[in-house]
Symmetry: C2
Subunit: 160 residues, 2 copies
Amino acid sequence: MDKQDDGRIGVVAALVRSTFLVNAVYAESAREHGLTSQQGQLLCVLMARPYGMGELGATLGLAKSSLTGLVDRTERHGLVRRESDPRDTRAVRVGLTPRGGRLAAEFYAETCRRVERLAAGLGPADRDVLAGLLGRVVLDNKVPVVFLEPDEGAPAAREH
Amino acid sequence: MDKQDDGRIGVVAALVRSTFLVNAVYAESAREHGLTSQQGQLLCVLMARPYGMGELGATLGLAKSSLTGLVDRTERHGLVRRESDPRDTRAVRVGLTPRGGRLAAEFYAETCRRVERLAAGLGPADRDVLAGLLGRVVLDNKVPVVFLEPDEGAPAAREH
DNA sequence: CCTGACGATTCGTGCGGCGAACTATCCCGC
DNA sequence: GCGGGATAGTTCGCCGCACGAATCGTCAGG
C-alpha cells in the first residue's frame, strides 16, 4: 500500500465518525439532564424564540405527527408550553417555560463544554480552521439553526 | 440583529450542526435501502469482520439488551446471521449474510457519495485539511471504527 | 466440584418516527 | 356572504430503538 496506517483518514470517514462521536456526547449530556437527545434538541431550538409546530417540523426534519408527541412529552415535563397564536386560531406557538429555559441554558452550556473538549487536542489556529471549513459545509447545505452560537446575545466577541 | 449569517460560526456550533446534517443524510440513505440508521450502522461495522455481541455493544455504544433486538430485527430481514463460537459455547459471532454483504456495500457506497457531496463546496486542499483536523479529533477521542475507509472494504470482508 | 464472572436473551416500559385520517381554521375568488 | 381548496395540528395504529433488571447457561479458577 502506498498509504500507511498513520491515522490519516478520508474526509467522508472523518465526517461520519465525528458525527458518531458528537451524537454520543450530545445524548449523554442530555441524559444527565433528564432529557432525551430529541428533547434536548427541541429546547436548544426554542432558546432562540418560540416556534410553530410546522416550523419546528421543518427545522428538526420531523413529520408533524412526530412533533406532536415530542412536544407532548416535553410539555408533560413542564419544559415547554403551547400558546395559541392570536393571529391564527389554528396555529400554536411552542415556547420554553421558565423552568425549560433554565434547563435549556444549563444543558446547552454543558453540551458546549463537552463538545469543546472533543477538540481539546487542537490548537487555537487549528480550531479556527476547522470551524471555518465545517461552517462552510453547514452553510452550503443550509443546515437549520439547531444549535445557537455560544455568544448569541452577548458582545463577547473573541479572538480564537 | 442576528449577525450570524455572515457565515462564520464557532467550532462547537459547527460540529453540532454538521452532526445534525450527517445524521440526516445517513438516515435518508439508510431509509432508501430499506434500513434504519441503526441497522445501516450495524451492517457497516460488520463489513470489516464478524463481531461478538458484547464487542458490538462496546463499538456501537449500546447496552447488550439493546443489541439483541437490533440483531434480531436485522437477522429477520436476512442481512446478518448468528454463528456460534466454537471456542466458547456461550458466545455468538454476528456476521453478514451474502445478501447482507451486498446490501451493506451498496448502502456504504451510496452513503459515501452523499456525504462526499456535502463537502462539494470545498476544494481538494480544503477537504484534505478538514479530513486531517476531523481525523485528529476522531483519533484523540478514540472513536470506534463505525465507518471504514472507502478503500479498505473489499480486502477484509472476504473469507468466513 | 463450587463459585464467581461472563455472554447473551427475555421481559416490561417508555420514547421516537411515520403515514393516514380527521378537525378546525383560514383565505381566495366569486 | 359563501363554497372549496389550502393550511395547522392532533389522533391513531404500527413498528423500531434503548434501557435496566432478572434469568439462564457456560467458562474458569480456587
